[in-house]
Amino acid sequence: MKAETGLRKYHAAVWDEPVVMEMGRPGRRGVTFPAAEDAVAQAVGAASDLLPAAMRRQTRPALPEMSEPDVLRHYLHLSQQTLGMMGINLFGTCTMKYNPRLGEALAARPEIAEMHPLQDEETLQGILKIVYDFDLMLRELSGMDRFVFQAAGGADAAYTHACVTRAWLAARGEIGKRDEIITSLQAHPCNPATAATAGFKVITLPLEENGYPSLDALKAAVSDRTAALMINNPDDMGIYNPDIKEWIRVVHEAGGLCFYDHANFNGVMSRLRARELGFDACMFMLHKTFGAPKGGGGPAVGAYGCSEELAPYLPQPLVSFDGGLYRLDHAGERSIGKVREFLGNLPVVLKAYAWTRSLGAEGLREAADLSVLANNYMEHELLKLRGVSRSHPHIDLWRMEMTRFSLGQVFEETGVSAMDIQNRMVDYGIDAFWLSHEPWIVPQPFTPEAGEMWSKEDLDNWIAVLGTVIEEAYADPDLVRTAPHNQAVHQIKAAPLEDPARWAMTWRAYLRKNSDR
């Protein structure tokens, strides 16, 4: 413990690790393969003679040549230079969870890792049963009639919805006529972005004083051109739209579909069902809400669920059960086909299934309770800190599972930004927090999400670190602005990342651009 702050001392490992392209020596090997057996080589001749001459590689790729232990140590060093949730990670909007290692151990077994997606369904009975049963569990949690796990992330599930909407419109002869998707300023960027990619015009509703768009704004936006509403609830500020049922009624009356982006499911799970609110479809992120790892950004699963009316348009195949065998149903001419090859990231489904089975209904409710309790505890303590405020300060209700805060006052008074504070907090072993999705609705935002896994001691530690860093900002702003100081490397210079003459997305580009320096 550091005497002056009472906080734990932390310092990242510093290995001064070269880029792998600079490592190795010619001739070294990290993996070798046998030569073709004699009978094989005699039968077919040299490999080069089997390849069309014009298509043979002429130059050796300039890859590093390394021994196996050197490769292992290099990447272990890189893992040690990654804070990666070894600290306290309250990364808002992403619901950081414990990823039970049992799931990892099981997913590494050949009965899942060494399965081919085109195997006959009779050989896939275990994993298909997991998919089938987990579909039933998500139906129970959402009220939807069918789930599919093909979408490889939350954004991909939003895209799936946009594709399903297109197919649904086509079946009704309304494609090209209903060409608008409505969302709100606080919806995750994937909602407008996937809608636009799928060919829709996007209408973004602004927020009112109460933290969500007004019903009047929605009524003014809907028309016979409305294809769908894509919306989160609660939003990332922890504010729940109490008019959502009326919203759905208005959109349905106009002839559009309603999609519930359940990114923030953690606070409402076990208290409501999307279908009972009137939604036609929803999405869960198994890597986020259901305990599967995020992998630094995937592999992930966006579980997409919908009403019976939309089920015929789902991507194929779906899993069915005939009482004896679990089947892959490829039939269905109204299906949108594929949004990604094969069956989805099934090991992630396995892990989410395992997590959910370990909790049961009672555990899911406990997780929701604890995440909302922890957020309100955080909020209560954070608002005591100098210069910290929250979005919509006049809304005097308990927030849901996260709250959007602002360090605007600290910035005005010290010139220290939220990003500077983020950089300084990692010096105390706190993972970089999430600021805000675009656009920012408060100045210098930060969005911690306590979730259910972090202990009260962890939360207290996080709060104490932020308090300490804010005091530092007032006492010695340069200390914070130049952070981090205890990390593997110092602050990156941002300008070259945006400069075509200097950016280098590969070592090859880097060498070319820096050969004269």
């Binding site: 890859l63 070894m86 049992l102 275990g126 490889a152 960027p189 950004g297 945006e498 997305m505």
Partner: protein
């Protein structure tokens, strides 16, 4: 009465009470005041009973997994976009490191090691491809192809793409979704180009006839879906460029130790799969796709995927790695961004980086040579089985088509019979490619031995006999 769950540190009544006392709330339930009463579900949640102990949960899951039959205890020749390649053990060890496995995001300094590993993924793949921009992976090869076609459409302002008839049906379905249905305003017309029945290569005359000022891109793959190396690639590039179209090439990167990188025969954008580079099949969950191009601003500005660049830090001589051009992604520009991005398969990119570091140039050469020799050996041995014909006799890499039409049996029946021998036969092509008859796509890689291939031949002889 509550319980203490092992995953939840605060699920202890005394701690909850302490936190409630601190905030002055009467109960946990009171904190949910924002949810109106009529929004709350009245029907209890009927889930299977909790298996709270790891011992019970493990036993349950093992009983489910035990119903699977995998490609280790069986001999598999399945391919078609997902392949059984050797995964060096340290790929799994590194991808399993908690620092890489569990988090979602970090800053260039807090998660420096992961950012460097990502850069090493793009850098090593860049050497294999001889390309200077490589993105972090997207979900799959099909998704990469779809994004690349949309990039080409934005670059040229045109709305048609020419693709080979010989294309993975799954990949084609993804591409069609990315190109939107014809009734949508931004639809990109996907036109299939046929193939030469004797060689399986693209029909150049048909390509030439279809190319026009409407063509945004020509997309081909080498090896193609049926395993054949597209020897006309340079000619296709010339035709595409003469028409003002972008030339997009899909490639299996494990072939690049022995096969020419597409950049050398005129590719503008290269896409492909990352699964063969150190990632288990995972029942299809091992897929990932990459997008690469020359380092030209016009291409860089159209990437929807994340790009990692090397840059200096505030300390002279020190290097770090950060995201470049993030503002043009959907994170930065919402509906005005380039397509969209979100969670992808970045953990697999770390496995890919480890794999390529182990391989080096000689590893890629060696594995490529072994694969091509074994695949050709398999084709020869199997062609000798009565009732079996090899449709395209040469010019393939690791996959080839077997035609069973002469046997009078369907691929489905043959594969069912092979399963009794512990063998997963090749993927049935008869529905997607009826012009090929009762045909199957067989994949042979470095994990197979001569004995495996001979065993397949013997089993086929028995099944067809």
């Amino acid at each position: 009465m509550t319980f203490t769950h092992p995953f939840m540190a605060n699920s202890v009544d005394a701690i909850k009470q302490e936190m409630l006392d601190a905030i002055g709330a009467p109960s946990v339930e009171a904190l949910f005041e924002q949810i109106p009463a009529d929004h709350r579900t009245t029907r209890p949640f009927d889930l299977p009973p909790a298996l709270r102990s790891e011992v019970a949960l493990r036993r349950h899951l093992l009983s489910l997994l035990g119903r699977n039959q995998d490609c280790e205890s069986n001999l598999s020749f399945l391919g078609g976009g997902c392949w059984q390649h050797h995964v060096p053990a340290i790929c799994d060890e590194i991808a399993g490191r908690s620092e890489f496995l569990t988090p979602v995001w970090g800053t260039p300094s807090s998660d420096h090691g992961r950012n460097q590993a990502w850069f090493e993924f793009t850098s090593q793949l860049g050497e294999l491809l001889e390309m200077e921009i490589v993105s972090l992976p997207v979900y799959s090869w099909g998704c990469a192809a779809g994004h690349a076609i949309r990039m080409a459409s934005r670059l040229t302002g045109r709305r048609q793409v020419l693709v080979p008839r010989i294309l993975c049906p799954e990949r084609l379905s993804v591409i069609r979704n990315y190109c939107q249905p014809p009734a949508m305003p931004d639809h990109i017309d996907v036109v299939e180009i046929g193939f030469d029945a004797a060689t399986g290569l693209l029909d150049l005359a048909e390509l030439e006839a279809r190319l026009s000022e409407r063509t945004a891109a020509v997309y081909v793959e080498t090896p193609n879906y049926l395993g054949l190396i597209e020897t006309q690639a340079a000619a296709i590039a010339r035709l595409a460029h003469a028409a003002g179209a972008e030339f997009i090439v899909g490639v299996d990167p494990i072939s690049l130790g022995v096969l020419a990188p597409p950049a050398t025969f005129g590719a503008d954008i290269v896409v492909g799969t990352t699964q063969p580079l150190g990632v288990h099949m995972n029942c299809g969950g091992g897929t990932g796709g990459f997008i690469a191009s020359r380092d030209e601003e016009r291409y860089a500005r159209e990437y929807p995927a994340l790009l990692v660049s090397i840059a200096e830090t505030t300390v002279p001589g020190e290097r770090a790695f950060g995201l470049s051009l993030l503002h043009q992604s959907s994170y930065g520009s919402r509906e005005n961004g380039k397509d969209w991005t979100g969670n992808s398969v970045y953990l697999w990119a770390i496995s890919n980086a480890v794999y390529m570091s182990l391989m080096g140039p000689e590893g890629f050469r060696e594995v490529g040579e072994l694969i091509v020799q074994q695949a050709h050996y398999a084709a020869r041995v199997l062609a000798a089985v009565p009732g079996v014909a090899v449709t395209f006799r040469g010019g393939f890499f690791k996959e080839f088509v077997l035609d069973f039409s002469g046997s009078g049996k369907s691929v489905q029946a043959i594969n069912k019979a092979l399963r009794a021998h512990g063998i997963f036969g090749g993927h049935d092509l008869s529905a997607a490619f009826p012009e090929l008859g009762q045909s199957a796509l067989y994949a042979v890689t470095e994990i197979h031995t001569r004995a495996d291939i001979d065993r397949l031949a013997a089993a086929l002889a028995e099944v067809l006999g």
